[in-house]
Symmetry: C2
Subunit: 153 residues, 2 copies
Amino acid sequence: MKPAAIAAREDASVAEPAYVLEDQVGHLLRRAHQRHAAIFQEMIGDAQLTPLQFAALVKLNDLGEVSQNELGRRTAMDAATMQGVIKRLLARGLIDRKPDPEDRRRVVLSLTADGGRLIAAAMPNGHAITDETLAGLSDAERRAFLSLLKRLA
Amino acid sequence: MKPAAIAAREDASVAEPAYVLEDQVGHLLRRAHQRHAAIFQEMIGDAQLTPLQFAALVKLNDLGEVSQNELGRRTAMDAATMQGVIKRLLARGLIDRKPDPEDRRRVVLSLTADGGRLIAAAMPNGHAITDETLAGLSDAERRAFLSLLKRLA
DNA sequence: ACGCGCTTGTTTGTGTACAAACGATTTTCG
DNA sequence: CGAAAATCGTTTGTACACAAACAAGCGCGT
């Protein structure tokens, strides 16, 4: 038998646990992501980059030359999303694009001198943004949170 | 002094810590959110709801009648995003919309009978989706993760 | 009563996010 | 070798996400 206190709380209603929106991972992930995006925009400075543009430039800086799809995989963007991001970075002259001689389906992307300078200058802001996003947590909590978050991603 | 092994690794380069995209909260939050969205779509079933539509219906079910902006606040959507979500739910006949007699700026939203049935039927899926999203974590880890995540949101 | 500020809902414009379908290639395998 | 399968980049259509600007209405203080 159930204790009376619990039976009473269930009374006329069903036995299912309530669905509390504020407690769902999905909702919380969405809100945390929103907050991070706001912090990003506020702290990225005159570079005027979006999180995805920043990610693409960072990876391009790491890798030197890559195909468009490969860069998409490395930054977790699908091919269609990539189109827009690349288009805007090209329009601003931050990246270069040329056909791959080895594979005629591919294009090879790389940073321009401007793009290299801009991403080098923006890197410290990236760290500051991460820091501000985690501002509410202690060092130990940050490590714990990031390690759990990695296992969900 | 730094140990030689570390000095060697830094050699010609700068002393700044590398910016590793895969370790940044923003990137991890984005990926976790992507994964959750994929799970949601896969498990929501024939209800054919997006996460935001689901959230709006759940809150509407909790609150009974609310204005559009109020509902937006409760579900963390801005007014412009709200437009689209409400428009689609109206088109499917899941919610109702009428002017507020007390305040002619407002509209009052509520569930239709269809909307009520649909969200009641979809609720268990919501719990299953949350569960699947956290599948990699133990019970203790889930609690720890959610409590840290709440502090970031 | 009047004016000023705030809220409500809407529109427009930019930027993710992804499914689905496509043509052009390249690769794989029978 | 040659056909089927896989990959590359693109387009289209739907759905968030938010800034900015707007008209209409409410409410407060003087």
